[in-house]
């Protein structure tokens, strides 16, 4: 019976790819008939996701890795192979579980957001992107991996630039392509170095960990770090992310932010942490540093954003940073041979991948609904939406609580685990290196608290009090087909928060499959409780505590319930009438933190008062505040200028003169002959 299941799982992966191919082809053929094309492409996508999830569940449930061939081209002998290891299965499962609600949402959302002429193309690209990411996760050889990686990039770029009438979207798409290809270039170089050493293209043999040593190993590590870091949105490789994620249609933004970045994270785990042999101490330190930097800067930039989708994109950088911070702690523990502690850190990291996917998907879908109903992305233009969009608003609040890392929701669980890993790592690390653990913990605490401030701001300004614009006042709830997927994701956030043991037992299969990790008894009390190894530090049973919390809230509600009738009165408007203009703004909300962290933001501001009679009685006050784009200005601009300068210099060599080109060919021929002759 189990053999049959294993065979089924092995067939499920190529079958899912086939379904995607067929439905994409059908969508393209249907072309003009946008609605039919959309239905076919998205339905195919859901079916394929269900199949890959089933295979992943089989692998994670102890069925062992499944492998096979995706394509065998007999004439050239080219073979595309796949292998779903427990680690791949984890990422495939996270991806599928989040992709399905997003796809369901898209089916109702696309007609509002995408012009009919582009419907077939966008739906097909959507399906291609999902399939490409799945193949990235299960690829078993370099050819398959790079092919899927590039397909993923191109399909995404197409979706990002799908609204290409707007200059900003074109620029975002271009930036995404350029950055992705810098990353892909690094990956190719690194894979070629490894392939030359291995004499093979299969990933397991390339990533056996003993192929390269010394400086070559460090170089390969750095190339992979850049290559995957770009996709994961790690600072300083992040510049494309806050441009590209908001430019895409909202459900695609959700997909990119929630699960597309996991492709980069998968690479970092599979290759950088476990594919190049035991990590060096400095690798772990670098990962922790990059992770903490991305987390803190990501949340700081998110905090002051005025564009809802950009804000969520920056928060994705933050969460990517938290994942990499945990990963770095694991690598450091591995470098010191502490497999048990590395296991806790890896569990924290991988659990946060899932948790982030759940709440970021939820928040981006909510933002998409809000943007669709109001026609703007400016936080300052919303307000009062909770009354007008009760489902979307309430579900967004759940997402805000989860992303702020508050118990008893899922964000708290993975942050709890990360703190455990940092505490355990402190004791396992000798000398001054250990200080990186409390420093990271302090930064993580700051990040979490800033995320809470950020989402109080978003939830409060967007959904509460009075509408701040006519569009917000006129907004209505989205159809049920759009809020039900959000409800599913919100439920997932609650369930993962209350039953972290389920996640951790699934992660158990991964731990035994990765080199250097030692399984530790992470799970206690079945599905609801978790504990650090041997209960040294802490344990957590969120469900028990949720009951206590519920009881306490009920007691409070009962105590305050003397009279059922509540008198409604106008709020105090300081003698004036309360209006949209007198409300506190999002800009004002984050102003104290902007001032306190001005060393990071380096804000410039202009205040201009237009007065007729006296400057003390201005008719109009204009306020402008800009945050300096530090990385764009000080890191990327110099690089860009250098590239342009070199390109300009090349003009002298490549000016279109046929004679000059013939001379180059001749010179090259002579040089080659000399070289070959010399080597004999």
């Amino acid at each position: 019976m189990s053999v049959n299941l294993g065979q089924l799982a092995a067939v499920a992966v190529p079958a899912a790819v086939l379904i995607r191919l067929v439905t994409v082809a059908a969508a393209i053929v249907l072309g003009r008939r946008g609605a039919a094309a959309r239905t076919i492409a998205l339905t195919g996508s859901i079916v394929a996701s269900v199949m890959t999830i089933a295979a992943a569940v089989h692998v994670l449930g102890g069925g062992g890795a499944v492998a096979g061939v995706l394509l065998h081209h007999a004439a050239s002998g080219a073979v595309l192979t796949f292998s779903m290891t427990p680690l791949s299965a984890w990422f495939v499962m996270v991806f599928g579980v989040i992709a399905i609600p997003i796809t369901v949402y898209s089916a109702s959302y696309f007609p509002h957001a995408i012009p009919p002429a582009r419907m077939a193309a966008v739906s097909a690209a959507f399906n291609v992107m999902l399939g490409a990411v799945e193949v990235v996760f299960v690829a078993a050889d370099v050819l398959t991996f790079v092919f899927a990686w590039e397909l993923m990039t191109l399909a995404t770029a197409m979706l990002v630039a799908s609204g290409h009438e707007e200059r900003g979207n074109r620029r975002a798409g271009y930036l995404y392509l350029v950055m992705s290809h810098v990353g892909t270039g690094c990956l190719l170089a690194a894979f070629l170095i490894l392939a030359a050493a291995a004499g093979s293209l299969s990933l397991p043999s390339l990533l056996a960990g003993h192929l390269v040593a010394g400086y070559t190993r460090t170089a390969v590590f750095l190339l992979f770090l850049v290559g995957f870091g770009v996709k994961a949105g790690l600072i300083p490789f992040h510049v494309w992310l806050p441009e590209a994620h908001p430019a895409a249609p909202s459900s695609i933004s959700a997909l990119m932010s929630a699960v597309l970045i996991t492709a980069g994270l998968y690479g970092l785990v599979r290759v950088c942490a476990f594919g190049l042999g035991t990590p060096d101490v400095i690798w772990g330190v670098a990962f922790m540093g990059l992770g903490a930097l991305s987390a803190i800067l990501g949340v700081l930039y998110a905090l002051t954003q005025g564009d809802l989708k950009r804000l969520l994109a920056y928060s994705t950088i933050e969460n990517s940073g938290i994942v990499v911070l945990g990963l770095g702690a694991a690598m450091l523990a591995l470098a010191y041979g502490r497999g048990g502690i590395a296991t806790v850190a890896i569990a924290a990291s991988l659990a946060h991948v899932l948790n982030h996917a759940a709440f970021k998907g939820l928040l981006f879908l909510g933002a998409g609904s809000v943007v669709m109903q109001t026609g703007t992305r400016r936080v300052e233009q919303f307000g009062g939406l909770l009354r007008r969009m009760p489902w979307t608003g309430s579900l967004f609040l759940v997402g805000a609580l989860a992303i702020a890392g508050l118990p008893p929701l899922n964000g708290f669980v993975s942050e709890w685990l990360t703190f455990q890993a940092l505490l355990l790592g402190f004791g396992a690390t000798p000398g001054f290196v250990r200080l990186i653990h409390p420093l990271s913990a302090a930064l993580l605490a700051l990040t979490t608290a800033l995320a809470a401030a950020c989402f109080v701001r978003v939830a409060g300004i967007c959904f509460l009090a009075l509408p701040r614009s006519e569009a917000a006042a006129a907004a209505g709830e989205v159809p049920a087909a759009m809020w039900i997927p959000q409800a599913a994701l919100a439920l997932l956030c609650v369930a993962l928060g209350l039953m972290p043991g389920v996640v951790l037992s699934a992660l158990g299969a991964i731990v035994t499959s990765l080199p250097g990790l030692q399984p530790v008894p992470l799970v206690m009390w079945g599905s609801t409780g978790i504990a650090s190894p041997a209960r040294t530090f802490d344990h957590l049973v969120p469900a028990t505590f949720a009951v206590a919390l519920l009881a306490a809230v009920t007691v409070g509600a009962l105590a305050a319930r003397r009279r059922a009738v509540v008198r409604r009165v106008p709020a105090w408007g300081c003698g004036g009438v309360l209006s949209a203009q007198t409300q506190y703004t999002a800009t004002a909300f984050s102003k104290p933190l902007l001032m306190i962290f001005r060393a990071v933001y380096r804000p410039t501001r202009e205040v201009e008062a237009l007065a007729d009679v006296s400057p003390y009685y201005p008719q109009e006050v204009r306020y402008r505040s800009v945050i300096e784009p530090t990385f764009e200005r000080y890191v990327y601009s110099p690089v860009l200028r250098a590239v342009l300068r070199v390109a300009n210099g090349m003009k002298a060599l490549q000016a279109g003169s046929l004679h000059a080109y013939l001379a180059y060919v001749l010179a090259l021929g002579v040089l080659l002959l000399l070289w070959l002759g010399g080597s004999k």
């Binding site: 009062g384 909770l386 009354r387 609040l397 805000a400 609580l401 508050l406 118990p407 708290f412 709890w416 505490l423 402190f426 200080l435 409390p438 913990a441 302090a442 930064l443 993580l444 605490a445 700051l446 979490t448 608290a449 800033l450 809470a452 401030a453 109080v456 701001r457 409060g460 300004i461 509460l464 009090a465 009075l466 530090f537 802490d538 344990h539 049973v541 969120p542 028990t544 206590a548 519920l550 306490a552 007691v555 409070g556 509600a557 105590a559 305050a560 319930r561 509540v566 008198r567 409604r568 009165v569 106008p570 709020a571 309360l578 409300q583 506190y584 703004t585 909300f589 104290p592 306190i596």
Partner: protein, 317 residues
């Protein structure tokens, strides 16, 4: 059902301890007010004033702003609930917390963060600028205090080998009356954080309703009647909780060894005395300092952060 008696025992322990803290909290608040007044040559309120105020507020007609949604009503309830639930994670009279099997310090910090999140979000619900101002400042200070708090707790937890409040207290008790220099530094650091988190001078002034300086009071300005009662009571319990936390981490002596009435009474007296001493410390701090400008608070908090880091460094390097 062999589990049932254990559940009942834990449950009644949790309820009893929570009731104790709920009952004592208004007294602490008034006592600090009274001591402050005496230091300023004023008479001050009677010691039971806190209870009178709560009784009056609970009996009032509930009034809410027209512009507010359900979030406004949910805010005080979640705030109160989260603070009350958090009390079950802290040992008070005996060296064990009622729900210590459910989680430790991180859960405690998370619960208090949930309470703050609920109240700050609700403050934005009326559309009044005061709510926004208070919420913004409260979240700012909390964000700044969080790393210092975490680092301070980190030090204690590493020394004790446990992040669980019960385990931590037991480990400190086992160590006996040995006070490391690092403990003094960590205590000073955490005391600053407690001042900041409970909205005391020099960070916030609980006695003012001056528009430009209030923080916590601005956030809850739109509340009245039973809603306000929950906020006031919750914040009183929160203050007591923080002081109890300091007592637990640094001087848990005198806790009852068993559940015998005499031992419990000793534990109660010891706890009351220690909390009272800390309250005197809070009062003196409030009386001898002026409120800081909001943008000077980061300096104060970085002192705390520095102390916590120093404590960690000299303890473990």
């Amino acid at each position: 059902m062999p589990m049932l008696p254990e559940v009942v025992r834990q449950g009644s322990f949790a309820v009893a301890q929570t009731v104790l803290l709920l009952a004592a909290a208004p007294l602490l608040k008034t006592a600090i007010k009274k001591m402050k007044a005496r230091l300023q040559n004023r008479q001050g309120p009677p010691l039971l004033q806190g209870y009178y105020d709560l009784a009056k507020l609970f009996a009032k007609e509930p009034v809410r702003a027209e512009t507010a949604s359900w979030v406004f009503a949910a805010g005080p309830r979640v705030y109160f609930g989260a603070v009350i639930a958090a009390t079950t994670l802290v040992p008070v009279l005996v060296p064990a917390a009622p729900l210590e099997a459910a989680g430790g310090i991180l859960l405690l910090v998370g619960m208090l963060a949930l309470a703050r999140f609920a109240l700050a979000t609700a403050a934005l619900d009326t559309g009044s600028a005061f709510g926004g101002m208070g919420a913004s400042r409260d979240m700012t200070i909390a964000a700044l205090a969080e790393p210092a708090l975490m680092l301070g707790l980190f030090t204690s937890a590493l020394a004790a080998g446990s992040l669980n409040m019960g385990g931590l207290v037991r480990s400190v008790l086992q160590r006996g009356l040995v006070l490391y220099p690092s403990d003094l530094l960590a205590f000073a650091g955490l005391f600053i954080i407690v001042i900041a988190e409970t909205g005391r001078i020099p960070v916030d002034n609980p006695a003012t309703h001056l528009e430009l300086t209030m923080i916590h009071e601005a956030m809850v300005l739109e509340y009245a009647g039973p809603d306000l009662a929950l906020v006031e009571w919750g914040s009183a319990v929160k203050e007591l909780l923080y002081l109890t936390l300091l007592v637990d981490l640094f001087l848990p002596l005198g806790m009852a060894a068993d559940a015998a009435p005499a031992a419990l009474l000793t534990g109660l007296l010891a706890w009351a005395l220690k909390v009272f001493l800390l309250a005197v410390g809070v009062t003196i701090t409030e009386t001898t300092n002026a409120k800081l400008r909001l943008f000077r608070v980061p300096e104060l908090v970085s002192v705390s952060l520095g102390l916590a880091f120093l404590a960690l460094a000299i303890r473990f390097l």
